[in-house]
């Protein structure tokens, strides 16, 4: 089947199978920033925003997306013009292998949008669906706190 997807603000038509999950459709069409760590909804590497809401793209049938806006980590910023969260993750050492990073940054983005001043517990809760094996999460929490602070100052 075919459908039109809106990804990072761009409308584009993809062809896919009725049973394909969104993760595969995105990766098959060059959105490699969406990672596959387990395919079972447990690791969060494939997390995206769907109409601004954090979801695991491996747990969504592509056919059901219909008209909703998809945001991947590329939609937040790029190397030349990174988002404060992307900067903060780089500055704090929150990135080691980086395979979890796109999902982790989107989870943080979804949190800060709702809650610009999160407590440590709220940060932990918001990232509870994203596994990181490299950092022990310590520097990731720091990155979210730093980004929150910078974003509050910039507003």
């Amino acid at each position: 089947m075919k459908d039109i997807f809106t990804i990072n603000g761009q409308r584009i038509e993809y062809e896919f199978d009725e049973t394909d999950v969104l993760l595969d459709v995105l990766r098959n069409n060059g959105h490699y920033e969406v990672k596959k760590g387990c395919g079972e909804g447990e690791c969060g590497a494939c997390a995206i925003l769907l109409d601004g809401i954090l979801v695991n793209s491996c747990q969504i049938l592509a056919a059901s997306v219909r008209g909703k806006e998809i945001t991947t980590v590329r939609g937040l910023g790029n190397v030349h013009d990174p988002h404060p969260l992307q900067e903060a993750f780089a500055d704090t050492g929150a990135i080691q292998c980086g395979f979890c990073t796109p999902g982790m940054i989107l989870a943080s983005y979804a949190l800060l949008k709702e809650n610009p001043h999160p407590s440590d517990d709220e940060i932990k809760q918001a990232l509870d669906g994203n596994i990181c094996r490299c950092t022990g999460y310590v520097k990731i929490f720091e990155a979210v706190r730093l980004a929150a602070e910078r974003m509050r100052k910039n507003v």
Partner: protein, 270 residues
């Protein structure tokens, strides 16, 4: 496989009558059980079944409401409600954003965080087949053939349990609970007037501990003395697991029951 995108409820019953068609809410449950047996999916997103309303002291939840939506809305509409306590800890953020009420009732996994509270609250499930019918969730849970060919459109429950307590027994935060324990209590004039105690994860998926509810009735709310109650607690049957024996789970359940009763009647949270 075919996809159907109805925009009106009346389109749904004829579709679900067909062999191999299933409703699609968030998709998380379907992807776990597998799509291979299915011929088609009826997507519910165009039906606006995600309303959460209050009406005459009852809370009505549309079946497409996600766990996250339920948590956010009920914190305002029904503060102290058991549902946000249970659902805010369930699975993980991206999954809570996607798992729907209807899908969870339909699949009722043994690790459900939803069903304990719903059963304890005495919720009614609204089913649409040819006509709309209402059934207690506890009844549906024991008579699951009722769901065949039906669409769960929502549930409702009465806001009558101000005291609630919930425990999910997990190894780490993001985990299937080995069991969940829901306790609801009503206290009148310093005495326990009524209670609901439901365990999810037993061999029959859920067990309401009527014995304990009876024993609690009329006790002083100041010192319900859970220790002596535990001696009269029936042994529940849990499925055998490599990670925890039924004996161990019974032992843990009693610990948490005591703690729950102590805390809900005003003791310290441990």
């Amino acid at each position: 496989m075919d996809w159907y995108f109805p925009t009106e409820l009346k389109e749904v019953p004829p579709l679900l009558k067909k062999e191999g068609l299933a409703p699609h809410g968030g998709g998380t449950g379907l992807l776990r059980t597998g799509l291979s047996r299915l011929k088609g999916l009826v997507d519910l997103s165009g039906l606006h079944l995600d309303a959460i309303e209050e009406n005459n002291g009852s809370i009505i939840l549309g079946s497409s409401s996600t766990y996250s939506m339920i948590c956010r809305t009920l914190m305002q509409k029904d503060p102290g409600s058991i549902l946000p306590k249970a659902l805010s800890m369930s699975a993980s953020t991206p999954l809570r954003n996607r798992i729907t009420l209807g899908g969870s009732i339909a699949s009722f996994p043994i690790w459900s965080d939803l069903m304990g509270p719903l059963i304890a609250l005495g919720s009614q499930v609204n089913l649409l087949k040819e006509t709309e019918t209402k059934h207690p969730v506890e009844y549906i849970s024991g008579n699951r053939e009722l769901l065949k060919g039906s669409l769960i459109t929502g549930i409702e429950y009465k806001k009558e349990w101000p005291l609630s307590w919930y425990h999910r027994h997990t190894r780490v935060a993001f985990d299937y609970p080995l069991f969940t324990l829901t306790i609801l209590l009503k206290i009148e004039a310093g005495r326990i007037a009524d209670s609901r105690i439901v365990v999810i994860g037993t061999r029959n998926r859920f067990t309401r501990i009527y014995e304990l509810e009876t024993l609690l009735a009329g006790r002083s709310a100041d010192s319900p003395d859970p220790v002596d109650l535990m001696e009269k607690m029936p042994e529940l049957e849990f499925p055998e697991r490599k990670t925890a024996s039924s004996g161990q789970l019974n032992c843990l359940l009693k610990v948490w029951l005591r703690r729950g009763i102590r805390e809900i009647t005003g003791g310290e949270r441990t």
